[in-house]
């Protein structure tokens, strides 16, 4: 029997007395360790009217624990040359630490404190809220970011995936400290979390350190909230124009629904996408940039989450070629949908995806992230170890089927960011046009 090539390093598992699942992967020669704790309480679990609560909570966790105030906590991490990052995704929040191996015990202790006994001081809450509100305001000056936010709304509408993980001005303005305290109390616990350690550490050394740092962390939630699936995008066959009168360039996004994380169709879909708009020789790059010089950048991509996923095209161009860009990109997507990729394109896409795959899990951080994702989405190690094999097994017919399914078989949701009047004209004929001020997105 042929053994699958192994991309992931060997791993060892154990569960703490409190019920926290831990995975340890020893790899590499550099004396560094990457630690990642994921909790399956992401932005999709934000309560109604409190978009951004998960993200806000996890960011505030580094601003004080029962034993360390914010300064002491930062000093503990930064003094030894470690790094700490916290963030929310739709389906989980993550706390990521890198540290010289010799300081692993101390870093595990800091991490455990943040997760177990954050104090959420009122003055830190106020500062963080003010910073968030200022950030939202400044985000209005970033056309690409506005376009991404607008696409999220155009795709998902009021679905739990429909808001940015950071929330918006109104939702953050309404938040009070007690909600953060409650979110942490109700949504954090060992049963819905996973700890991953990758790098210069073996399980025998790691286990006592983890047991000590997380001793007594038990109970908490046992159920993971699963958002409902979505059957139709909010702006299917419609155009959302975000008015930014002073721009000399239009940001363009097109989107539709695709597959959930872990669906087998993702392999032919990725192969198809590499041919359409993934690599630098894809059809979209060729037609938009190489042949016509319409843009510096164009691409298509899939995003997949626990309950649903999307397919989107992203680009930008000077105002007067916006219509041309729309026609060229929609035309290419339609051509792919109707006829699928050629055999040569499939072969090239397979080599491209398979050849580069090892680079996606080259660092300790990337391996830790991949292992955490495997757990969050219940994928099993084969998802990574057999990735190349499964990409290479895709047939042209399967890739064509994926194209028929995802390349806007129903009319795309269209997002344009720039001067409202001009862009409303550029979007004519692609569906009912709604023009909103940029402030409405944040």
């Amino acid at each position: 029997m042929k053994h699958a090539e192994r991309i992931l390093p060997p791993r060892a598992h154990f569960t703490t007395e409190g019920g926290l699942g831990v995975e340890v992967a020893k790899r590499g020669r550099v004396p560094l360790v990457s630690i990642r704790l994921v909790v399956q309480s992401g932005a999709a679990t934000d309560p109604p009217e409190r978009a951004g609560l998960a993200d806000f909570t996890v960011r505030l966790m580094r601003r004080g624990t029962a034993r360390l105030d914010a300064d002491a906590l930062n000093e503990a991490v930064e003094f030894v040359g470690g790094t700490l990052a916290v963030f929310a995704a739709e389906d989980f929040v993550a706390l990521a630490v890198t540290t010289p191996a010799e300081h692993l015990p101390g870093m595990l202790d800091v991490l455990a404190q943040m997760v177990r006994e954050p104090t959420f001081p009122q003055h830190e809450f106020d500062t963080e809220r003010d910073r968030s509100l200022a950030q939202f305001a400044n985000d209005l000056d970033d056309p690409g970011l506005l376009a991404d936010r607008a696409l999220q709304r155009a795709l998902w509408g009021t679905h739990p995936y429909g808001h940015d993980v950071a929330g918006n001005r109104a939702s953050v303005q309404r938040m009070v400290r007690e909600e953060v305290v409650a979110f942490h109390r109700d949504r954090f616990g060992p049963q819905v979390s996973r700890l991953v350690l990758v790098g210069a550490i073996d399980v025998a050394s790691a286990r006592p350190l983890v047991e000590r740092a997380f001793a007594g962390w038990k109970g908490g939630p046992t159920e993971v909230a699963v958002p409902p699936p979505l059957t139709q995008t909010a702006f299917e066959g419609k155009v959302l124009v975000v008015d930014r009168p002073d721009q000399t360039q239009a940001q363009v996004r097109l989107g539709g629904l695709a597959y959930r994380r872990g669906e087998a169709v993702s392999f032919p879909a990725q192969v198809m996408n590499a041919a359409l708009g993934g690599g630098f020789t894809s059809r979209l790059v060729r037609e938009v940039r190489v042949r016509r010089g319409l843009s510096y950048g164009v691409g298509s991509s899939f995003e997949s989450m626990r309950s649903a996923g999307s397919f989107s095209v992203s680009s930008f161009t000077k105002l007067k070629t916006t219509r041309t860009l729309l026609e060229v990109t929609l035309g290419e997507v339609a051509r792919m949908r109707e006829r699928g990729p050629t055999r040569a394109e499939v072969k090239k896409a397979q080599e491209y995806l398979a050849g580069l795959f090892p680079l996606r899990v080259e660092t300790n951080e990337a391996v830790a992230s991949a292992l955490a994702d495997l757990w969050v989405y219940s994928l099993g190690p084969d998802w990574v170890d057999r990735y190349r094999e499964r990409v290479r097994a895709v047939t042209r017919g399967e890739a064509a089927q994926a194209a028929a399914r995802f390349c806007f078989p129903r009319p795309a949701a269209v997002v344009l960011v720039g001067p409202g009047e001009a862009l409303a004209r550029a979007g004519e004929g692609l569906g009912a046009v709604t023009v909103v001020p940029a402030t409405e997105l944040l």
Partner: protein, 419 residues
Amino acid sequence: MSSLFRVHEATLRNGLRVRVVPSTDTPVVSLYTFFRVGSRNERPGLTGISHLFEHMMFNGAKKYGPNQFDEVLEAHGGRSNAYTSHDLTVYYEDFASEALEQVLDLEADRMRSLTISDKVLEREREVVKEERRLRVDNEVMGLIDEELHALVYQAHPYRWPVIGWMGDIEAIQRQDCEAYFRTYYAPSNAVLWIAGNVEPEATLRRVRLAYGNIPRGPSVPAVVNAEPVQRGERRSVLSHPAQAPGLLVAYRGPAVSNADAVTLDVLEFILAVGEGSRLTKRLVYEEKVAVDVGMDWSWRLDPGLLLFHAELAPDGEPARVEAALYRELARLAKEGVSERELTKAKNNLKAHLMRELTTASGRAHALGSYEAYLGSWRAGLRLGEHYARVDAAAVQAVAARYLLPSQRSVVTLHPRASA
């Protein structure tokens, strides 16, 4: 760190320098080509040609025609990209080990016989104009940064943006590109770094085969640094549609060849790297005059800049941020740093050096950059020792030497309503 890998090196007769760093961690190879040319080698009227030329390099040569570079690379499981800075132009490819010979053939082909046609130039010109609209004209920080460099530098080519002025991008001719290629893209002005799953001797043989018959280039014209002495603070005020005021402050720094450059690396960590750094603690969390604050001290071949940037809230006041910033900088120059802060900065620099050398691509890029900036990659591997020797007095001394109000340039952006 140097015990983790060995560098094999050779110089071809045409002057091409080659360095190979083998490892077996992943079945992948990274190839970097460093050309010692950037916007500092340009002149008014031709600003942006280095960056525009970087685009031209992907459009075909004698053996591999238009668009073949990425076609062939991707079909062999590879990807490529490039960047242009004030000092350097760097091309890189990541690919599966089996494709090494093929990729060397591609790279050598475009170094030997790049096709430069009017048609391609016209198209890439449009693409670059879109890139400029994206990164500068429609990006507040891009506008401020462009204004600042023009404010600081009066004679040195660091005055203009790497992407170039729009008028120059529109005016560059094919003949300019041809002359540029002959001068700056010759093997004698390039260094190849190959890192990853390769056999060093065989790799050097392959490089000789692929590149050996490319003729050596002319000597590269020296860059004249005629920058006059700055005799007092300079200020510029921009008015532009934006949500919040913007602020960028620069002090004149040394060239990377100056020993102070390394001490300034330490100073940068103490002032602005991490949530617990002096400026973040004071300006963001204590005085709350800024939402975010950062410092950028980047090595440059000619005297560079110590940049301080602040993100303000819509009701923020640049004058208050400036005052708080200057107080902190003056305090550093007057009182120096504690031993604990110094140790912390060194611990971070050590970890940073380790991190950038953990991947094949990281090793090729870091060592290649060290060679370009410090004169040799070995000097890069000795950085850790240099940092270890920096003491508190040295940090205080560079603060006092460079953070002078008379050597300051300040750009503020005041929001105005939309047109």
